[in-house]
């Protein structure tokens, strides 16, 4: 197999109605239409999904691993941000 200069695409699959699209993986394709078809063949052939998104990987802005501490560390020791000090009314589920 030869290398190609096809761009990379990120694939998001919605597994069921009511759930959000979840990142499933990535693939190469020459354009969006074929990326969608490749995604169908690679990620939904065993009945995994009801909807697909493909996004050019280049269009994604990601947080940098170098910034992990300034980004995420400060959240760890602030328990008052979690809604754990409320009494949950009866009958409320999935809170």
């Amino acid at each position: 197999m030869t290398n190609t200069d096809w761009p990379l695409w990120e694939v998001f699959v919605r597994s069921r109605r009511g759930l959000s699209h979840t990142h499933a993986g990535s693939l190469h394709a020459p354009d969006a239409e074929l990326a969608l078809r490749n995604a169908r063949d690679l990620y939904t052939r065993r009945g995994e999904g009801v909807s697909l998104w493909v996004v050019p990987s280049a269009a994604i802005t990601a947080s940098s691993p170098d910034e992990k501490d300034p980004f995420f560390e400060p959240a760890a020791d602030k328990p008052y941000r979690h809604p754990t000090f409320y009494e949950i009314p009866e009958g409320v589920q999935h809170l």
């Binding site: 197999m1 030869t2 190609t4 190469h28 078809r37 490749n38 063949d41 690679l42 052939r45």
Partner: protein, 243 residues
């Protein structure tokens, strides 16, 4: 263990089953050789769809393994188009475009009819619609792509054209299929795709002395024998072997 002869097996199930089986094997030959990994999976996926159809169809005609692995070349009833070698990627796509368009239209008619194939066709036509879409997408991109891809795609469409007329020979047992109507719609559909792909519809007759087409009668082209030898040798070397 004797292989059933063609004369005792339902003709239509063999014709449709052999089309699916042989094309499935040809597409399977791309495994490990496709231009890119994603396309290899796509072709293998189509091959598996066709293999599933072949199993159902051949089971209607007899024992699927005996029919697939123990028949001689002349007992196969597939059209010659599907046995043509993969060639370059453009040849594979042209073969896919011609055959999947035909299969989709034929299965559409069968699904609406009342033969024993109606149920199977209704399920398979959705698979085949995807095969046709895949072939169409690639025909558009190769035909309307680079000068090289255009030339290769045109060459492939022209080379395989002479095998297309055979698909519209009436098959015994498929009563109620409008073969001439099928041919007309097929032609319009293929012409539409080729036109949008900036390709020229090949000239030359689809039927007559200069065209190919006796696969349904058991006459096959030279590469088919080698393909069968590869497909059948394991079963013939180890009869009855299983996983």
């Amino acid at each position: 263990m004797t292989a059933p002869t063609a004369s005792t097996a339902p003709v239509a199930a063999l014709a449709l089953g052999d089309d699916a089986l042989v094309l499935s094997h040809r597409l399977g030959e791309w495994a490990g050789h496709a231009p890119v990994l994603e396309e290899e999976v796509a072709l293998a996926n189509i091959a598996l769809d066709l293999l599933g159809q072949a199993r159902l169809l051949l089971s209607m005609a007899g024992d699927e393994d005996e029919l697939a692995y123990l028949r001689e070349e002349r007992a196969f009833r597939n059209v010659q188009l599907v046995e043509q070698p993969n060639g370059d990627f453009a040849h594979t796509i042209a073969r896919q475009l011609y055959f999947s368009t035909y299969q989709r239209l034929l299965y559409g008619q069968l699904a609406a009819g009342d033969t024993e194939f109606a149920g199977l066709a209704a399920k398979a036509v959705k698979e085949v619609a995807y095969h046709q879409d895949h072939a169409e997408q690639w025909t558009l991109r190769l035909g309307d792509g680079t000068a090289d891809s255009h030339e290769r795609m045109q060459r492939a469409c022209t080379a395989l054209w002479r095998f297309t007329g055979e698909m519209f020979q009436p098959v015994e047992g498929l009563d109620g299929v409008d073969w001439e109507g099928l041919r007309a719609v097929w032609r319009k559909s293929v012409e539409g795709v080729l036109g949008r792909a900036t390709l020229t519809v090949p000239e030359g007759p689809q039927s007559g002395a200069w065209t190919a087409g006796a696969g349904r009668q058991g006459l096959h082209t030279e590469p088919f024998g080698r393909m069968l030898a590869e497909m059948q040798h394991l079963h013939r070397s180890h009869p009855g072997a299983s996983w």
